[in-house]
């Protein structure tokens, strides 16, 4: 029963939007606002399996690489900075500065160092994704309950055990919140990095369509981007639900107390 209800809620709004889109474009006169079925036709013709291999896969691989690299490094650095006050005081101003630099403006600089290949694009994604994970990890580690720290100390937790059983789980809600932000940024940067010196990718293809006035195909590409975002959000949500399965019940019990 509730699954059916949830299913209805899930598809209701997209359905309404498509119907509205269809109603608004029924006359099908505007060159820039094609009707849903024209976009659908273009979508099916454009994104063939071969095309997916050639343009979608490279984008997704670069995105995943950049995002994972940023997550691993962000958590590692964040734990170190969160644990050592001296390190934090020394590094924090630089971090705030670097974080304020919009990653796209770094692209020419990164091209100087990393060339124009996949490495450059992964680096751009990495550079953008790093900060939300890093800064949230620092905050998460700093906010660990002192009583919990004392418990771990008094029961003789070694450094590895402390990391694995205290620091990472305690900071995990914040870390995941940061990673979620990073993921959205990563998809944006995936597209942007393909605007410079690219020869494949979803972003590259969409821009090709724009420049050749293949408007329905362009809209199809944008819809594909949305779908990529949706799928990654769903996957992320699944992982998060698993990692934080204790967290929501814990929060509820805290609120009651």
């Amino acid at each position: 029963m509730s699954i059916i209800r949830r299913g209805i809620f899930l598809v209701a709004l997209p359905l309404v939007l498509v119907v509205l889109w269809w109603l608004a474009t029924r006359q099908d006169t505007s060159f820039y606002w094609p009707s849903p079925h024209r976009v659908w036709d273009a979508f099916v013709q454009t994104w063939t399996p071969a095309e997916i291999r050639q343009d979608v896969l490279p984008s997704v691989v670069r995105f995943v690489l950049g995002f994972l690299l940023a997550t691993v490094l962000g958590i590692g650095l964040g734990v170190a900075i969160g644990c050592y006050r001296g390190l934090r005081e020394a590094i924090e101003p630089v971090l705030e500065f670097l974080r304020a630099v919009p990653p796209p403006v770094m692209i020419p600089v990164i091209i100087l160092f990393a060339g124009i290949g996949d490495g450059m694009k992964v680096l751009v994604i990495f550079f953008g994704c790093l900060w939300p994970v890093l800064l949230n990890t620092v905050e998460g580690v700093r906010a660990i309950d002192p009583v919990l720290r004392d418990s771990a100390r008094s029961y003789g937790f070694g450094p590895y055990c402390r990391l694995r059983r205290l620091i990472l789980p305690a900071a995990s809600p914040r870390i995941l919140a940061g990673a979620r932000q990073s993921m959205s940024l990563g998809i944006i940067l995936m597209v942007i990095s393909e605007m410079f010196a690219a020869s494949n990718g979803i972003g590259f293809t969409i821009i090709q369509f724009q420049q050749t006035f293949a408007i329905p195909e362009m809209w199809g590409g944008i819809i594909l981007l949305g779908l990529v975002g949706l799928v990654s959000a769903v996957l992320f949500h699944l992982a998060q639900t698993h990692i934080l399965r204790w967290y929501h019940g814990f929060l509820r019990s805290q609120r009651k107390a």
């Binding site: 004392d150 418990s151 937790f157 055990c161 204790w246 019940g249 814990f250 019990s253 107390a257």
Partner: protein, 283 residues
């Protein structure tokens, strides 16, 4: 430094060494440095025999928790020495376990009850078999055998504190330190938990240091009650509780001697609040 655990069965060792000195505090001092430095503990010297149940009471702000954290090796002291069985404590020793007041914050919310109790044992290097046995025994002792797969936050406050006690007991400490452990539970749960701690103490022969601000609780539980002065802390009185060793919430608390002791400690706490120092003429 960790105190070496020479015997695998700490409990047997505890009961056999009953009577010898377990814990020694020699001129313990704690001053928090900083812009406005604060002298929390001036001079605490006391010694606890193995198997003793000692309650430490004092008015709020008397540095009870500071003293307990110093004993536990959770914070450095500015002067003096804490010795556990003759070995200097300068970090949390393996022979001690602490039960904190904030049960909801001292148990790891991402671990089940079982995991919470088992992890310290794993850190201690016990075999899987011994871990399982200790966990089962400890859960049984606190009456939570059914709840080992729950998360702590799924349990009531009193039950969470039982888990914390089970974790401490399973660790087989020589000294069990309890920092106002029942201050945050309701009165009935509190009475149950007091009797639980007494029963465990008798059964295991463990040395207990029990910090509380509750005068009745200190007299009901302790063999000795140490009254602390206001901060900077010094022991104001070290009182032997000459009540029958068998304690009962109803009959013990109705004894005339209980009322006398209670009134005496109450008077001392009032004096302490008013600024009495050791060596002052007792009223």
């Amino acid at each position: 430094m960790k105190v070496a655990q020479t015997m695998t069965d700490g409990r047997a060792e505890m009961s056999s060494s009953s009577g010898g000195t377990m814990l020694d505090l020699v001129g313990v001092q704690k001053t928090y440095a900083g812009k406005r430095s604060f002298e929390a503990i001036r001079d605490v010297t006391l010694s606890v025999r193995a198997g003793e149940f000692v309650c430490i009471v004092g008015p709020s702000g008397a540095g009870k928790t500071t003293l307990l954290r110093s004993i536990a090796g959770l914070q450095s002291i500015s002067g003096g020495e804490v010795r556990l069985e003759g070995s200097r404590v300068d970090g949390p020793p393996e022979g001690m376990a602490v039960v904190f007041q904030e049960y909801a914050r001292s148990l790891f919310p991402w671990m089940t009850v079982r995991q919470n109790i088992a992890l310290p044992l794993k850190q201690k290097g016990l075999s899987r078999h011994d871990i399982d046995a200790n966990v089962a025994e400890a859960l049984e002792a606190v009456g939570l055998s059914e709840d080992h797969d729950s998360y702590p936050w799924q349990l009531s406050g009193g039950m969470q504190q039982r888990v914390a006690i089970a974790r401490a007991v399973a660790y087989e400490p020589k000294v069990l330190l309890m920092d106002e452990p029942f201050a945050a539970v309701d009165a009935q749960t509190r009475a149950d938990l007091e009797d639980l701690v007494l029963a465990l103490w008798k059964r295991l022969g463990v040395t207990v240091i029990f910090v509380t601000h509750d005068i009745d609780e200190s007299v009901y539980l302790g063999q000795r009650v140490i009254v602390l002065s206001n901060s900077p802390t010094e022991p104001l009185e070290d009182l032997a509780v000459d009540l029958p060793s068998e304690r009962d919430q109803l009959t013990t608390r109705m004894l005339p001697r209980f009322a006398e002791l209670r009134a005496h400690v109450y008077g001392q706490i009032q004096a302490s609040k008013a600024g009495a120092r050791p060596g002052d003429v007792q009223p």
